[in-house]
Assembly symmetry: C2
Amino acid sequence: MNTNQRFAISIHALTLLAANSAPLTSEMIAGSVDTNPVVIRRTMAGLRQRGLVKSKSGAHGGWKLMRDPKQILLCDVYLSLGEDTVLAIHAHPNKYCPVGGNIKGTLQEIFSVTQNAMMDSLRQVTIADVLADVRAKGKK
Amino acid sequence: MNTNQRFAISIHALTLLAANSAPLTSEMIAGSVDTNPVVIRRTMAGLRQRGLVKSKSGAHGGWKLMRDPKQILLCDVYLSLGEDTVLAIHAHPNKYCPVGGNIKGTLQEIFSVTQNAMMDSLRQVTIADVLADVRAKGKK
DNA sequence: TACATTTGTAACTATAATTGTTACGAATAT
DNA sequence: ATATTCGTAACAATTATAGTTACAAATGTA
């Protein structure tokens, strides 16, 4: 199984921030996600670089959203992680084989289209949508 | 980076088989992929289970396609690997938090839609398409 | 100013997924 | 019979990711 949980953690953290106007500390977020505060800081660093959140050191510091949750698309969140494409290509297919010598380019093109399809899907959902759905589930 | 190359290896192997009517041994395929024959056998086992290829032990044995390459969709190939969804969810969000207690279900739904978008994209490409593209690149 | 709080980040360990390797039995063609 | 080839278990090696510790820097408040 894939152990990369950074995307899920990012969405979780942003949803918490969307639900709270006061800043949340890494420790509070880590408590809800069930991980170490450093893992949260590490993950949030990418979100900050992309302008989705800001952080403040010191007493009463923590994390805040920089945008209306309606304006945060999940594809923005994904991109902030700086991940490669989800489908990986083997490193050294045999150059002297007619198939091996050309398959990397072919796979790159196909996997890029697939990645775009994934991104288009993530473009349809905002952090506001996530929060609304979480709240709806909470009422049931 | 994601190190799971099984999907790329499977496509590579099937493309080799599509280009050759005689059976190919795990060793030959491994030579083109640049890996160990056991890795090939392991990967091909899933493809066989799904009825995409057959294998034969012994002298002049090896692997053959069970279908016209035009009828092998990349989504079939992907499914034969038995992978989880490409987007993973963190294991134990805090149940007693209004967000943490409900986010898993929300993420499952979103990630499932995204996975389907990916599959729809992979449904548009066949092994015959891959072989044609590889050959076209070889002529340039 | 002193102190408590909180982030930023480096350094390291732990865990888990994946690949790579060795070994050997079973199947099969000649 | 013999050589070939797959099937698979067992294990080692590599890599990605998460988790942890430690401490400097920033910041609010008494």
